[in-house]
């Protein structure tokens, strides 16, 4: 029966022009989305190149000045602008901490439009509370990007709905179902076979076009076959979920317009209403403390700090005896004070800032629970993770920058207190930042989840129909 169904299903699809419509619309949507994704990555790269060039330019000026100083030439300007001072290097010539796009970044804009991809942590200043937001028109963030993730999460389900909502009901409404049911076959099996064939055709078309897009726009990703395979499988899994839903609706409701409405209802629920509601509930249940409050508190700490600076100073020196200078105390008084108060600021604000992280983590936990409820959420999370644009990636980037800023400080501050001058040699051995993607994408887990969800709803809702050989329910 399968071979026969396969042959005629494809014949019917071709004759009804469905395949053509599908092919054309998918091709258009995917081309535009991949193109956009690629453009976004290019913009990100070009921004990175711009700041890198800027740094090179600044560096070469700095190196020239350094050379002059080393030769003993006199330089015009205040001493605190001379690159031979470690603090000048530390504050005015910071290194770039760049977050380069991943191979799959074009897939999903994720949070990449909100955050900056390069930061220059300085030797002093609030490195622990840096603002990573990028300059962007907020309307763009509100409306979002037309990227592959959007097409896959929002549009594919709609195409599936249009492609399958009346597989069975059409036969009933046309009248062929009575003739079919009078044949010695299990009608439920017959419907499922039709669905399976459509699933194979649909997924085949999508994956083929997707691979074509990748080959045209982003050949690089073929080097990471593991992730690519995971990506293709999770997309197939998401498509499967919607096919299973459509199967259930087809068999249970079996009326074209009711089917369409029910499926659209599910789409709205899963793609739009659930995520929006969960998000709203998440921020109500686990509200991040107001940033305004944080500002107030940090300001109060700062104020207290200034008042208590002298006390703090000795405390700090007790912690860092290697920095205590026997002579020249006056000369370095300023820096000691400064670093000491920064240190205290950092210590005192740590619990404050930690609140944001814990609340965010709680929200994330809520999301990871609810992704079992809405595969759209699961898909968004997975695609962002594959693309390296999830909030986890940006949080980790922040952490890496923070770690680097410590490294930077630890390199320069001792120089200051040991009264060393900064030289060309130091320049060549400055710590460099390199971003590592340390967030596991857990794609196989997500694939497992989406297949499990599909199986559970399949057997829960049409397991019974599978055993029932009569066609009575389908005909009425």
């Amino acid at each position: 029966m399968f071979k026969n169904n396969l042959k005629y299903e494809i014949k019917l699809l071709i004759r009804s022009h469905w395949l053509t419509i599908l092919l054309v619309s998918v091709l258009l949507l995917f081309t535009f989305a991949t193109f956009n994704g690629q453009k976004n990555v290019e913009k990100r790269l070009s921004d990175i190149t711009k700041v890198e060039n800027e740094l090179h330019k600044k560096d070469s000026v700095m190196v020239t000045t350094l050379k002059k100083i080393e030769k003993g030439e006199k330089i015009d300007g205040p001493y605190w602008r001379l690159p031979s001072e470690p603090m000048t290097i530390g504050y005015r010539h910071p290194r770039l901490a760049i977050m380069k796009p991943e191979t799959f970044s074009f897939l999903a804009t994720g949070q990449s439009d909100m955050y900056t991809h390069f930061k220059s942590p300085t030797v002093y200043g609030n490195n622990f509370a840096l603002d990573y937001s990028e300059m962007v028109n907020p309307v763009q963030l509100l409306f979002g990007n037309f990227d592959l993730a959007f097409v896959i999460i929002y549009i594919l389900p709609l195409l599936i709905i249009a492609f399958t909502f009346n597989v069975l009901s059409k036969e009933k409404e046309l009248g062929t179902l009575r003739l079919l049911s009078a044949q010695p076959i299990s009608t439920v099996n017959w419907v499922l076979q039709k669905m399976l064939i459509r699933y194979i055709v649909f997924t085949g078309v999508i994956l083929l076009i997707l691979l074509t897009m990748f080959a045209v726009f982003s050949k690089g990703i073929f080097s990471d076959i593991g992730t690519l395979a995971g990506l293709l499988i999770i997309i197939s899994g998401y498509i499967l979920f919607w096919f299973v839903l459509s199967c259930i609706v087809n068999i249970k409701l079996n009326n074209s317009s009711k089917n369409a409405l029910a499926l659209i209802g599910f789409w709205l629920l899963i793609v739009l209403v659930l995520p929006a509601t969960i998000n709203q509930l998440g921020s109500t249940l686990y509200p991040t403390p107001s940033r305004l409050k944080m500002i107030n508190e940090i300001r109060l700490i700062k104020k207290e700090n200034e008042e208590k600076q002298n006390e703090i100073m000795s405390e700090y020196l007790r912690n860092h005896p290697e920095l205590a200078q026997e002579s020249n105390q006056d000369k370095f008084g300023f820096w000691h004070n400064y670093f000491a108060s920064e240190k205290v600021m950092e210590e005192k604000t740590k619990p404050l800032l930690a609140q944001y992280e814990t609340q965010l983590r709680k929200q994330q936990k809520l999301v990871s629970v609810f992704q079992f409820l809405s595969p759209a959420i699961l898909m968004q999370q997975s695609l962002n993770k594959i693309a390296g644009t999830s909030e986890n990636h940006y949080n980790d980037y922040k952490k890496q920058v923070f770690e680097f800023s410590n490294e930077w400080r630890n390199y320069l501050v001792p120089m200051l207190f040991k009264q060393q001058k900064f030289t060309i040699k130091n320049y060549n051995e400055l710590p460099q930042f390199s971003y590592k993607n340390r967030v596991p994408n857990k794609i196989w887990f997500s694939i497992g989840v989406i297949l499990l969800i599909s199986c559970i709803i399949f057997f829960a809702f049409i397991g019974g129909s599978l055993r029932d050989k009569s066609v009575q329910k389908l005909l009425n």
């Binding site: 979002g144 037309f146 409050k293």
Partner: protein
């Protein structure tokens, strides 16, 4: 025509699906309102506290050198506008506070979205979310088969044979679809108004704005209704009509805005923050530096000042030259910021105009923009807020620098302004633009809405005679 309306409404009232959909929408509206009010009150309380606390921090900083105070700075906080609980607009993506310090103009920092999971990018359930995304679907649900059902049940021939005027029939059906949604919207806005006017500490609430919002959404629903009827007229079957209407809905509310984003970004890209800062630093380097007397422009200023007062050295000036130079430096820097932010603002305006021009693809876009603007949660408002904050910063800097200039002696870096004088700095206050100004600013969007109202309607009247 009245008969047609009654008949359609009767059919609708008997449709179980309609009741379910209305029920779900109302539940969502209730959730949205409760969480919205809740958040609003919390945020507003926070805002009021923060303003008070920050002011007291400023006022109680004790005797201090004015320039230290300038570096210590203060904050400008964005008020929580009453209607922000109706439409969150872009507030999630813009910060609520700006640090006002010496020498630099800061961006509003800490957007809410960066403290939330990426789920926020799906959108947030708010009253406006239900009204702008879900209500049009109710219209589609009511109206998609208004004509096709008559065709399918073959009652259309019967109707025609009764001699009903086709235009009257079309208008009857059109009204019948529109009336339920209009009533529903009216109730939602009335209740919202009542809820809002019973809240305490509400900032800048006006019934007028709410009324305009109501009219705006009512107009949007009119457009959707007309299109739904039109599609139903032209469709061969209810299924096709439903699918076509939904495709239009998705095009309007999802695809067009996103496509517009990509166009806007491609045509008028924003600079990255660091690029922007580099450009400013570049300009600053060549200009007057209030701290650095070796700077070329600073030397020039010195010469000019000496000449103007007819003295040979700065110590002979009737005021503290250091304070004067600092203020001049500040003014110069402020000008640089103004220039660069003007460029940035221009890009934003260009981008938004790309969005608004794409309104010919989707009436959703002008409605979205107008709704944000009226609710005071738009990009537009945020720009106004940052500009006001900058003006205040400049005033604050002048206040402090002039104090050095007038009350201290040259070279006296230990000078301290009296603790009392900090209180003399006026408070920062920000009032949102007037409703009428907002509407004039959105002329373009209003014109597009007008077209969207008229063209489909005329087409509908014309098409009704053809079938």
């Amino acid at each position: 025509m009245i008969h047609v309306i009654f008949k359609e409404l009767k059919e609708l009232a008997r449709d179980g699906r309609f009741k379910i959909v209305i029920g779900i929408s109302l539940i969502l509206l209730v959730i949205a309102t409760i969480t919205g009010v809740n958040q609003y009150q919390k945020n507003n309380e926070q805002y009021i506290n923060s303003v008070a606390k920050e002011r007291s921090i400023w006022e109680t900083q004790g005797a201090k050198n004015p320039h230290s105070a300038a570096h210590y700075g203060t904050y400008a906080f964005k008020p929580q506008f009453a209607l922000s609980l109706f439409d969150y607009g872009v507030t999630k993506y813009t910060g609520n506070s700006i640090f006002l310090e010496a020498h630099s103009r800061n961006e509003a920092s800490f957007s809410e979205a960066s403290d939330q999971t990426s789920l926020a990018r799906f959108g947030t359930l708010s009253i406006n979310f239900v009204l702008i995304y879900l209500f049009p679907l109710i219209i589609i649900l009511i109206g998609y088969n208004s004509y096709t059902k008559e065709k399918e049940h073959q009652t259309f021939r019967l109707l025609k044979s009764q001699g009903v005027h086709p235009v009257k029939l079309a208008l009857g059906k059109w009204f019948a679809i529109y009336i339920p949604i209009f009533c529903l919207t009216l109730i939602v806005f009335l209740l919202l108004g009542i809820v809002l006017s019973n809240l305490e500490n509400l900032a800048f609430f006006s019934w007028n704005s709410l009324l305009i919002l109501f009219v705006l959404y009512a107009l949007y629903y009119l457009i959707v209704t007309t299109l739904t009827v039109l599609i139903s007229m032209w469709s061969k079957s209810s299924g096709m009509s439903l699918v076509s209407s939904l495709v239009i809905w998705i095009l309007f509310s999802f695809i067009s805005p996103k496509v517009a984003t990509n166009f806007a970004n491609k045509n008028n890209p924003y600079p990255s923050k660091s690029e922007f800062n580099t450009r400013i630093a570049e300009d600053k380097k060549n200009g007057l530096d209030g701290h650095n007397p070796w700077n070329k422009a600073a030397k020039k200023l010195e010469e000019e000042t000496l000449k103007e007062y007819g003295v040979d050295s700065i110590s002979q000036l009737p005021f503290n030259y250091a304070g004067y130079r600092m203020q001049k430096g500040e003014e110069h820097e402020a000008k640089i910021y103004e220039k660069h932010y003007a460029i940035l603002n221009d890009i934003a305006i260009q981008q938004n105009s790309t969005y608004k021009k794409l309104a010919f693809l989707s009436p959703f876009i002008p409605v979205r923009f107008l709704s944000m603007d009226i609710a005071n949660t738009s990009d537009n408002l945020h720009w106004k807020f940052t500009k006001a904050a900058e003006e205040y910063r400049i005033k604050k800097q002048a206040f402090l620098n002039n104090d050095i200039k007038d009350n201290s002696k040259l070279g006296d870096w230990n000078y301290k302004m009296s603790a009392q004088r900090f209180k003399e700095l006026p408070k920062f206050s920000f009032t949102p633009p007037k409703l009428s100004n907002l509407l004039t600013e959105n002329k373009e969007s209003l014109v597009f809405l007008g077209f969207w109202l008229l063209l489909p309607f005329i087409t509908m009247i014309w098409a009704s005679k053809k079938i």
